[in-house]
């Protein structure tokens, strides 16, 4: 495995970039070169990267749109927070580890429960059902006593601040690795074939429903885990944190990164999390800008302008080659 990794040039570069970013962040934090605001945003960046990568699996590779990503995140966040709040007797690493596992598991269970009936649908239907599902989860959390209703949970132990960056970073890298490997594997190609031609994929003997559910559940588990980290980073949870806007925000990251491009999603997630912090004054217009980004990206992707630009580029490359 390691030998193969070293033979592969692009894998080497990715590994190098991963390590360099890690060292850079650690050095900047320990040297105190970052402002408090930037330090506090390190973990949210990681959380958004995880969310974007997990949604990228569904939107980019499965070719379906789900709008309930924030719902899975909230399930994970609440499960994790309830565990660490109630298991005060356990040492911090144990209870946080438990919370991470349980958060992912519970989100995954919900993923199966919802995915099995709902994934028989496609396109618009799936989008609207998952949207409704996200809203239902929000209203259930809002009305339950266990989750303390609209007031939410507070005083959640902060096990995932920038001091625990190493742990969060490792989890994030593991998720990215898992999804990249999945996408490049036999199963990943099966998933992409469902996106490219549903009927042809079925005719070649790919169990479409099975792969759809697999992708959906993996994405749900990862969203759940990122929710746990989010909960232990901010310390306060409210049902309103996980509304429709949150799902759209993640969708914008995936779309801006170029659907079906994991690296793009990661970069877009980092930029879109850092940008509002840098440009504080534009906060009111942030959501409006997201909407415009969605529309223009889609129109640009399908326009003749893009075709012409890329054709010119490839022609130039050909000429250089000749």
């Amino acid at each position: 495995m390691i030998q193969r990794l070293f033979k592969n040039k692009s894998a080497m570069i990715s590994l190098l970039v991963t390590i360099v970013i890690y060292i850079l962040v650690i050095v900047l934090v320990s040297a105190g070169l970052l402002s408090r605001q930037l330090t506090s945003i390190i973990i949210p960046v990681c959380v958004n990267v995880m969310l974007a990568v997990s949604l990228c699996l569904i939107v980019g590779f499965l070719g379906e749109l789900t709008l309930g990503h924030a719902g899975f995140m909230s399930i994970g966040a609440y499960t994790g927070a309830l565990i660490t709040l109630n298991a005060t007797a356990l040492p911090a690493p144990v209870s946080f580890g438990l919370a991470l596992i349980a958060g992912g598991l519970v989100a995954g269970i919900f993923g199966v429960l919802i995915g099995v009936p709902v994934l028989r649908l496609r396109g618009d239907y799936l989008a609207i059902v998952t949207l409704g599902f996200g809203e239902i989860i929000k209203s259930i959390i809002n009305s339950l006593k266990l989750t303390n209703g609209a007031a939410g949970l507070s005083d959640i132990p902060k096990y995932a601040t920038y001091k625990q960056f190493t742990l969060v970073y490792i989890i994030m890298i593991l998720m990215i690795l898992l999804i990249t490997n999945l996408v490049n594997s036999r199963h990943g190609r099966a998933i992409s074939s469902i996106r490219d031609n549903y009927i042809a994929a079925e005719a070649t003997g790919i169990p479409v429903s099975k792969f759809k559910v697999i992708a959906f559940v993996i994405s749900a588990v990862f969203a759940g885990i990122s929710g746990v980290i989010y909960a232990h980073n901010v310390g306060i949870l409210k049902p309103g944190n996980f509304d429709y806007n949150r799902s759209i925000e993640v969708l914008v990251m995936v779309v801006l990164g170029g659907m079906g491009n994991i690296k793009g999603s990661i970069i877009a997630a980092v930029i879109l999390t850092l940008l509002p912090e840098v440009l504080r004054g534009l906060d009111d217009y942030r959501m409006l800008m997201y909407a415009i980004v969605l529309i223009t990206m889609m129109i640009f992707n399908n326009s003749t302008l893009k075709n012409r630009m890329f054709k010119r580029k490839s022609k130039a490359v050909e000429k250089e080659g000749a």
């Binding site: 070719g63 709008l67 396109g123 059902v129 409704g132 209203s139 959501m287 997201y290 889609m298």
Partner: protein, 295 residues
């Protein structure tokens, strides 16, 4: 007797909300029939309609009837502009791209209104001031009467338009087969614009009726009726105009009865439950046509 009265009152309430859903569902179903896409932004046209009415009646002090007409017209124009700017370039794109654009448009409208008018709800008194009618021991409010009559008129007019006029026939032809319709000399782009025009006008009417009932404006007010109307359109069979009317009214009755006799908090969940059951058991809806898929 009392039980019977309360049931009848709930049924009338259901009919009122249901007929509003039916108006919105008509827009979804017409656009789907003709452009084969679900216009996610349709629900937000309702919201825009309510705000435009507020702008004209409360801020500009225009009398009610011209204000209503201007509102309907401006929403219809907004609908056409959305189609031209956002959906037309994507007519040959894959469905996912169209879907994301539609969500983008919906999100855009919500946030634009939020920036202009603010996120805090604005109280807005009903513009319908008709006294209630008493039939025996049952009272029917003025809003209910106006809602039911307006929606009935709209539906009859629309059915007549689709079935009897030239433009209506063109719409049916385009939804049946776009290519063949074009070859027969029908202006496809014009017909699609007309569909958006009518759909958005109906949404504006629904928005006005809706705001008279709820009397509070906020940027997300269109989302829930929009989604419920979508459920209604699917229930009746998306693409089918009588289906949308039937689905809307059925959904209104289901919602009103479950609110009264099961649980207020769960009524939204029940509505979604209906959607999931319909899609799983009979995805074509009550009056929809089966379409075979080919590679």
């Amino acid at each position: 007797m009392n039980v019977l009265n309360s049931i009848i009152e709930q049924l009338i309430n259901g009919l009122r909300t249901g007929s509003i859903y039916a108006l919105i569902a008509l827009g979804y179903t017409m656009v789907y029939g003709i452009a084969k896409m679900i216009n996610f932004a349709h629900g937000d046209i309702i919201m825009v309609g309510a705000y435009v009415l507020y702008l004209f009646v409360t801020l500009l002090h225009i009398p009610v009837i011209p204000a209503v007409l201007i509102t309907i017209l401006s929403c219809a124009v907004i609908g056409v502009v959305i189609e031209k700017v956002a959906y037309k370039p994507l007519r040959k794109a894959q469905p996912l791209a169209v879907l994301i654009t539609a969500i983008g448009v919906s999100f855009f409208l919500q946030n634009l209104i939020q920036i202009i008018f603010g996120a805090t709800p604005i109280p807005f008194g009903s513009i319908i001031n008709i006294p209630a009618i008493r039939l025996g021991s049952i009272t029917i409010s003025g809003i209910t009467i106006v809602t039911l009559s307006v929606t009935t008129i709209c539906m009859i007019a629309l059915t007549w338009f689709i079935n009897k006029t030239r433009a209506g026939r063109a719409m049916r032809a385009v939804s049946e087969d776009k290519g063949a319709a074009e070859l027969m000399g029908i202006n496809v782009n014009g017909t699609i614009s007309l569909t958006f025009f009518i759909g958005s006008a109906l949404a504006a009417v629904a928005g006005i009726l809706f705001i008279c009932q709820y009397e509070s404006l906020k940027p997300t007010l269109g989302a829930l009726p929009g989604i419920k109307a979508f459920v209604a359109a699917v229930l009746g069979g998306i693409g089918s105009i009588p289906g949308a009317m039937l689905g809307g009214i059925l959904l209104g009755l289901i919602e009103s009865l479950s609110k009264a006799y099961i649980s207020t908090q769960l009524s939204d969940a029940i509505v979604f439950g209906v959607l999931v059951i319909v899609l799983l058991v009979k995805p074509t809806g009550l009056l929809g046509k089966q379409r075979r898929e080919k590679v």
